[in-house]
Subunit: 343 residues, 2 copies
């Protein structure tokens, strides 16, 4: 069997957007969802690449998302901006509010964006990169489904609660991290289960709250936060800031609402944008040049900056195209031909 020829980032974008439009998304919504999925595939971040198309179609078919929702911006004119996704995907809501968030942060120094009532599957790095491109530092966080026990606890209560940060750099790629506050992703445990190999110690506990290296027992029990009680505290902070603070679902309520983890969760999200020019003005120093001193010193020690693998993959995808497998291409064909009926 010959390896399929690569397809360009643009071609993949056109094909994915067409799939979403044929499944009821408005062109604007389809573009926003496609942007993040194709960016994931482009960056070899397969967990947020075209693999996600099926999950998006499933929530449409299940009637859990409004594919043609029109995000509604609520701008108080102050430092907190809100956008109601109206049960649509999070991505169109973010992009509907992005320009206002950028302008407000540059005007007031710091601004927050609240996304309400969305279906969420997005890679948070996509949002913080978009803000870093505008010269802003950014934080992004959201709850997910309750699948992680607090450190010292016994039952799933916290989500895998991603936490992302972006910082503008002079070159094409900002400083970006985006990680789950659980020690491992659920998918990684699933891979061990399929391979019949034990999971490392410290990843999970079983149904009785006991440490386990058995993937089946882990999946029936709870995952653990990264970094012990410190990571558990950060995950709790994400629940409070991106859930309770907004009056939106936390991970437990998101799970109760959906009745299981087989579909994308519904909840809100919080994004903070900080303008280095405002914050540093009185100092007379160049904040980005200062940041470079640190970041080049980290890299100079041989330590890896986060996202470097993604950026490397991005360069090669933009130059050589994206290499998809036969199965992936066949699935794209099926989704294009059959839409929701392909599920």
């Amino acid at each position: 069997m010959s390896t399929p020829a690569p397809i360009s980032v643009e071609t993949l974008h056109t094909r994915v957007q067409s799939i979403f439009q044929s499944c009821g998304l408005t062109p604007q919504n389809a573009r926003a969802v496609t942007d993040v999925i194709v960016a994931g595939e482009r960056d070899h971040c397969k967990s947020h690449g075209i693999y996600r198309i099926e999950g998006c179609l499933r929530v449409i078919k299940a009637g859990m998302v409004k594919p043609d929702a029109i995000p509604e911006l609520h701008d108080s004119g102050k430092a907190v901006i809100e956008v109601d996704a109206h049960a649509g995907f999070s991505n169109p809501a973010f992009f509907a509010a992005k320009d206002t968030l950028v302008a407000r942060a540059k005007e007031t120094g710091i601004a927050a964006l609240v996304i309400r009532d969305c279906l969420h599957f997005s890679a948070l790095w996509h949002d913080v990169e978009a803000l870093a491109e505008e010269g802003l530092a950014a934080l992004s966080m959201c709850p997910s489904y309750a699948s992680v026990a607090p450190t010292g606890g016994t039952e799933p209560l916290l989500g895998t609660n991603p936490f992302a940060f972006g910082w503008p750099r002079p070159g094409p790629h900002p400083y970006v991290f985006d990680f789950a506050t659980s020690v491992a992703a659920r998918g990684e445990i699933e891979l061990h289960r399929r391979a019949g190999t034990p999971i490392p110690e410290g990843w999970a506990i079983d149904r009785d709250g006991k440490p386990t290296t058995d993937p089946d027992a882990a999946l029936a029990g709870a995952m653990l936060p990264f970094g012990g009680h410190k990571g558990s505290a950060i995950s709790t902070m994400v629940e409070l800031l991106a859930g309770a603070l907004l009056g939106e679902f936390m991970s437990k309520e998101a799970l109760e609402f959906s009745g299981g983890t087989h579909l994308l969760p519904r909840h809100g999200a919080l994004i903070l944008a900080l303008d280095p020019a405002t914050f540093s003005a009185r100092s007379g120093r160049d904040p980005l040049a200062e940041g470079e001193r640190l970041l080049t010193a980290i890299a100079g020690q041989g330590a890896r900056l986060p996202s470097q693998r993604r950026f490397k993959a991005r360069v090669s995808s933009l130059r050589d195209g994206i290499f998809l497998s036969e199965a992936e291409l066949a699935q794209l064909d099926r989704f294009e031909a059959e839409g929701l009926a392909a599920l």
Copy 2:
């Protein structure tokens, strides 16, 4: 030798404040510095208790701090407020700006406080607790001295960079965490050195960047961030947000400026305050009641909420007084009688 009688929190406050005033602090500065030191002692948080008096006096004696500095508030009327400590301690600067920060956060939903050019020794929990008392969620962070190598690196570059979060609760005590982003504090390694016991694996590397359990080799090398590359990324974020963003020192510059870690570091700090009433208004839900659902569920699993030991100690100190050792009381006497000459 009989155990000394306990002294009341008020008496200790009066004695400590009097020491600082006799060493040149204005009454307002002395009160702010005393507040955090006595709060630390009251909460059995010895690392930020009266043990810190000597360190404060040392920087005064060395001429590294301006004891009678008058913090200068710069209020743009927007979401970012600045206070210049003018080479004074951080605590009076924070308290000089606190009311403005609280009012601004309630007006704009989110506000940031930049503290510039301060000598820093404060427990960050003290600041976020003061904001939680006003009904605000708060984040606080600052660099320190370069003593931690980035994950995968070999040399000290990051500080122990504390990161604190506060969330208001209905009872007397908020949800608060405050931790170093290093896996252990330098003082803990020092305790192992004195006891002649090895440090746990994963705490530190030696001068050649190799993992070590030898406390001497660790102190000559570098500490490591908590939680591997995720903790390293958070520590880097603290350098960028509470250093570069503000145009203030990062941990490496703070170390170069002081020429060693024997005196308190000079740098800035960043505090964010978020108003739950503003953020949740459109949802119709009570954000603090939502938060309680999560926090009581964590405690209900038998998991410990952060700061619970401190709050328990606080209750007993307020009821029974603070128990100091003979040596601690003798040192207080000496500082009271001799001031800076006691050093």
